[in-house]
Amino acid sequence: MSKPFDILVLIKQVPDQGAKAGINPDGTIDRAKAKRMMNPFDRYALQAALHVKKLTGGTVKALSMGPPPAAEILLEAIEHGADMGYLLSDRRLAASDTLATAYALHKLILHVSPFQMIFCGLQTTDGDTAQVGPQIAERLNLPQISYCEDFSLEGDQVKARRVIEGGYQWVHADLPCLMTVANSYHPLEYKKIRGSQKVQHLVRNENEKSKVIKTVTLDDIEADPILCGLKGSPTIVARTDKVAEIGGSCKTRQGQSVDLMVKDVLETTPVKEFLKL
């Protein structure tokens, strides 16, 4: 049996694009109005982190960078079984691209270290780059396993299955290691009753809460503000255009009887042209 692990999981709060609130007519997001949620891909990363804790014991710390409301997803992580949450929140982080985000998060990781394993989601639904994980691994000089679908621990190594074109591969890596977890990994299990009770307690008791959810600034983690936010970002979005919605024109039938819906589709599409004669 291995010794208890210090496990880190990186989770981000993103706008809920399923809920129509806060989506501007031009397709951009009004972050103030949009409903918020944990990045769906990060739920798999959290599941992976909790799985390791089940195997090795130890602690799971959930780390996030974002404005103060992002503390909501840290509490959610605790409901699922994480032990602590760290929120890096600082105005100087505004407009960070992936390089600046990875820089800031790697400083946060060093601040909460030690660790044996770091889990990231595959990608975010708002940034959608899948870059932050590998860029953190580069900053920390760690081996990485991206697109991980399944893994087990073997001594002081992790054995993992990762997605590749045309199939998959089995790899093993030394710890410490950073993994990005694919959405073909196991879905996040339900909240734990004890976790929910703990969170209810924390919500009523600010003092207790501040011991479990730590909010830190760039100064606390000794990050260089020049490398963060707009200044630290080598890229900018110079322009956005709404895409002429090719598929947005989907003609959807709903609520009628199945034979009518099918008939309508067959009458309005060229499907019958391809029938066997």
């Binding site: 997001i29 960070s96 870059q131 990485q144 707009l230 956005t240 099918v262 599409t269």
Partner: protein
């Protein structure tokens, strides 16, 4: 990606032109698998040729592997002026750290940095590119669908040091916010400017055997710490038999089909058509309900049938990129909010176990009437 729009504020004094040092070279990092150059590399050479011409620089290609033989010359045939070859037994299969080492070492040897470095948005490119970009602290745009060169006026005073007119920027254009927006992302302050492009999007040049290009071996200095990850086994399913890329009609099933038996029903629907096949999402391939050769999507095949039925497929982005160029897309899903409806032309919200049998019934009926017509 940051969200600074270039809102053109009234700016009386002209912006100063600023040039970030570079040697104007465009470098493609090739991808090989089992010693075979992957198609995305030829696509990148096609796109890179255009960028290099616009910049007035050379197009190069860097390839890592073991004894690649004649494959290397093909990179010239497809447009590279120079090919840098890292040949070493430890580079036979892709692994993040050794590849990262060789590329970072090599790119560091340039007196002036290359202007642009491009990779494919494959599981390999997206694993590797962020590490190289982070090492050089340069910009990287993932999953581009268009690339171009053009000028950029940075007028945002929030960061005064960056103000200026930058000629010859890489325009990295990619979908964002679930494909509803197209973002143009730039990073002219550091070189190389980096991007990955989606497989199947860029167009390769026609191969030209008479093209001349230089082949240059490069140094490989892998360190002990680069072996912290090992590849034990690579599992690829060989494609044989009829290909889903050739069918006019595809009946694709997803996890909603609920088991291997469900594909029997889809086969019955496929049997109604002349040149049709079943197809599948990755999730059902992973579940073992159907072999890999039927998989559509980012890590499966890109298909363009005339008709694509998506039955019980949620429409994750990795699936959509493999089928969104199909002729007519018909989605059948219980969930009206399933993302598949954003790429479909026609949709039926309902249980596929009711809809598909009804489709078969009505199509068989249609068939009978056609037979009757021929009889008349």
């Amino acid at each position: 990606m940051s969200n600074t729009d270039d809102k053109k504020t009234q700016q009386p004094e002209p912006l100063q032109e600023r040039i970030t040092p570079s040697n104007k070279e465009v470098i493609i990092i090739a991808e090989q698998s089992d010693g075979i150059i992957q198609p995305v590399t030829y696509e990148l050479l096609g796109a890179g040729r255009d960028l290099a011409n616009k910049l007035g620089g050379q197009l190069s290609c860097m390839v890592l592997g073991e004894s690649l033989g004649a494959e290397v010359q093909k990179l010239v045939t497809y447009g590279a002026d120079e090919v840098y070859v890292a040949d070493h037994p430890e580079l036979k299969n892709y692994r993040t750290l050794p590849y990262r080492r060789v590329i970072v070492d090599f790119l560091s040897t340039f007196e002036l940095p290359p202007h642009i470095v491009l990779l494919g948005s494959t599981t390999t490119g997206r694993d590797l590119a962020p590490r190289i970009a982070a090492h050089f602290e340069t910009g990287l745009t993932a999953d581009c669908t268009e690339l171009d060169i053009g000028p950029y006026e940075h007028t945002n005073k929030a960061d005064p040091e960056k103000l200026g007119l930058y000629p010859g920027c890489l325009y990295a254009i990619r979908p964002s916010f679930g494909e509803s927006l197209k973002a143009r992302i730039l990073g002219p302050w550091n070189n190389p400017q980096m991007a990955t492009t989606r497989p199947g999007v860029m167009i390769p040049l026609p191969p030209d055997e008479s093209r001349q290009g230089k082949i240059i071996p490069i140094a490989v200095n892998i360190q002990q710490e680069d072996f912290r990850l090992k590849v034990d086994e690579i599992v690829r399913e060989i494609t044989e038999g009829i290909s889903i890329t050739d069918a006019d009609v595809l009946i694709a099933g997803g996890y909603g089909v609920n088991g291997a038996e469900g594909f029997e029903l889809l086969k019955q629907l496929a049997d109604c058509f002349d040149n049709a096949s079943i197809a599948a999402s990755r999730k059902v391939v992973d579940a073992g309900w159907i072999p890999y050769k039927y998989q559509v999507g980012q890590t499966g095949k890109t298909v363009r049938p005339k008709i694509y039925f998506a039955c019980g497929i949620s429409g994750a982005i990795q699936h959509r990129v493999g089928m969104n160029k199909s002729g007519t897309i018909i989605a059948i899903n219980k969930d009206p909010d399933a993302p598949i409806f954003t790429v479909a032309d026609h949709g039926i919200v309902g249980d596929l176990y009711q809809v598909v049998p009804e489709l078969i019934k009505q199509l068989k009926g249609a068939n009978v009437t056609q037979e009757e017509k021929t009889l008349v």
